[in-house]
């Protein structure tokens, strides 16, 4: 905002209609700080008001149009200029003209699709935001408001355990087992390591959670590995026939759901890395991918909400009876 001599200028403010009732979620910013933003799910309506406040009383504000946009975009840090917008909705609030006094405009993005979860990573960022803009001759006045989107999943139908025998011929044979292949973010990894053959001198064993963020395509693929957690599960030398239990609570770590090939731009995958260290500090390891997913807290409400949304998306159906039926089913 700049004051050029006697020109009128204004302040824009975006306020959501459900600002009082809507939950906020913490989300890390690019520089590592944590901030709170309004939390939205896929299909929810984003509605509110845009307040335009004139700074200099008495003067008119000439403009070439006032609009509000709802944007979902992917930003690759090494290619900042190109934002890949996968959601882009516009609502015109005012045709080109003049504002003689401060004014408030309503907006409503009904049942807007939010296909991916908000993500801020090492080399890529996916974010959703509202942007209100007053277009002017020399410089636009605009305001952005970030929101956070989380994608929820239901319990996977098939969730097989991971069980494998690995080792080095004649030196070390182990069988490892993890109770599931898909874990939700507050889940517990229950497993065991069974020693079949131990001809090396093991000092201790740990299990690491490794996050791999992959950006780029084709020849310029880049993997960023980050060890989120290191958890010692055994201290000392095991012998044949011994079983070491694993119980790793995921809620204590900063994890996101597994994100596969998001808009063909990036992936975020998680691996369990089982590491055995011998007396000469040699490391023997086995990496295994796991799928992380986000469980919804309140299942009932979203079911009837989703029924309402589904009914409204299909022509000819009676939305009232559909949501009433859904409420009955969930009770």
């Amino acid at each position: 905002m700049s004051f050029f001599g006697f020109g009128q200028t204004a302040e824009i403010d975006i306020v959501l209609n459900d600002a009082e009732s809507r939950k906020k979620a913490e989300h890390k910013t690019e520089d590592g700080k944590k901030d709170k933003y309004f939390l939205f799910y896929d299909g929810e309506t984003v509605s509110g008001k845009v307040n335009v406040t004139l700074k200099i009383p008495g003067k008119r504000l000439e403009h070439y149009g006032i609009k509000i946009e709802f944007v979902g975009q992917i930003e690759l840090y090494y290619d900042r200029g190109n934002h890949h917008e996968f959601v882009s909705l516009v609502k015109d609030l005012a045709r080109p003209g003049e504002l003689s006094q401060s004014q408030t405009f309503d907006f409503d993005f009904t049942h807007v699709e939010k296909p991916y979860e908000s993500y801020t990573g090492q080399n890529v960022k996916l974010r959703y935001f509202l942007r209100a803009t007053i277009s002017r001759r020399l410089n636009d006045i605009s305001k952005e408001m970030d929101i956070v989107v989380q994608t929820l999943c239901t319990y996977p139908e098939i969730n097989s355990s991971i069980k494998m025998e690995v080792g080095i011929e004649d030196c070390l044979h182990i069988e490892f087992e993890y109770n599931k292949s898909k874990y939700h973010l507050k889940d517990v990894i229950v497993g065991k390591i069974y020693f079949l053959l131990v001809r090396i001198k093991i000092k201790h064993m740990e299990i690491d959670i490794v996050k791999r963020e992959t950006t780029g395509t084709g020849p310029s693929v880049y993997h960023e590995n980050d060890t989120i957690a290191k958890y010692e599960i055994m201290d000392g030398a095991p012998v044949r026939g011994e079983s070491i239990p694993i119980r790793l609570f995921l809620a204590g770590y900063e994890l996101t759901p597994t994100m596969r090939d998001i808009n063909k731009k990036f992936s975020v995958r998680y691996y369990l890395n089982l590491v055995l260290i011998d007396e000469e500090e040699r490391r023997y390891f086995k990496q295994q991918e796991i799928t992380l997913w986000r469980k919804g807290d309140i299942v009932r409400r979203s079911m009837s909400q989703q029924a309402t949304i589904a009914a409204q998306r299909y022509e000819g159906s009676n939305s009232e009876t559909a949501s009433a039926r859904a409420k009955e089913e969930s009770n």
């Binding site: 319990y155 080095i168 004649d170 030196c171 070390l172 087992e177 109770n179 507050k186 889940d187 517990v188 229950v190 497993g191 065991k192 069974y194 053959l197 131990v198 001809r199 090396i200 001198k201 030398a237 012998v239 044949r240 026939g241 011994e242 079983s243 239990p245 119980r247 011998d278 007396e279 000469e280 040699r282 469980k295 299942v299």
Partner: protein, 162 residues
Amino acid sequence: MAEAIADTRRLYTKPQNLSDAYGPPNNFLEIDVSNPETVGVGRNRFTTYEIRLKTNLPIFKLKESRVRRRYSDFEWLRGELERESKVVVPPLPGKALIRQLPFRGDDGIFDDSFIEERRQGLEQFLNKVAGHPLAQNERCLHMFLQDESVDKNYTPSKIRQA
């Protein structure tokens, strides 16, 4: 529908065989480098070290062995391992060329404290190397540790177990 508390009970495990639990471990391997002896006279003197090995690993032909080796034999072993295997071979204790120059106040490379330092370094080196699963596959390591003498004209090969 949704479980309030996750099931964290341990997975089922087979009970351990008692002889496995209380018997000798399968990874017994002890190597000692000791008894330095300087042989020869004048300019042709050199120091040999006794290498004693005790093990129950099947890859070693002899469960107990005792050989004598000199520093240049260790250098030969290190070179062979670097060339033949993918192992990152640890360094040997220093070559001490300066100690071999004349007009020294002490006994040079036959100085007791130097020999002791070298002995320790050689012992550390062998323990690191002999316990490495990949180095254990090399013929040169077994020849060095258990054969009467080192045949530098040997044919490099990998040990294969039936």
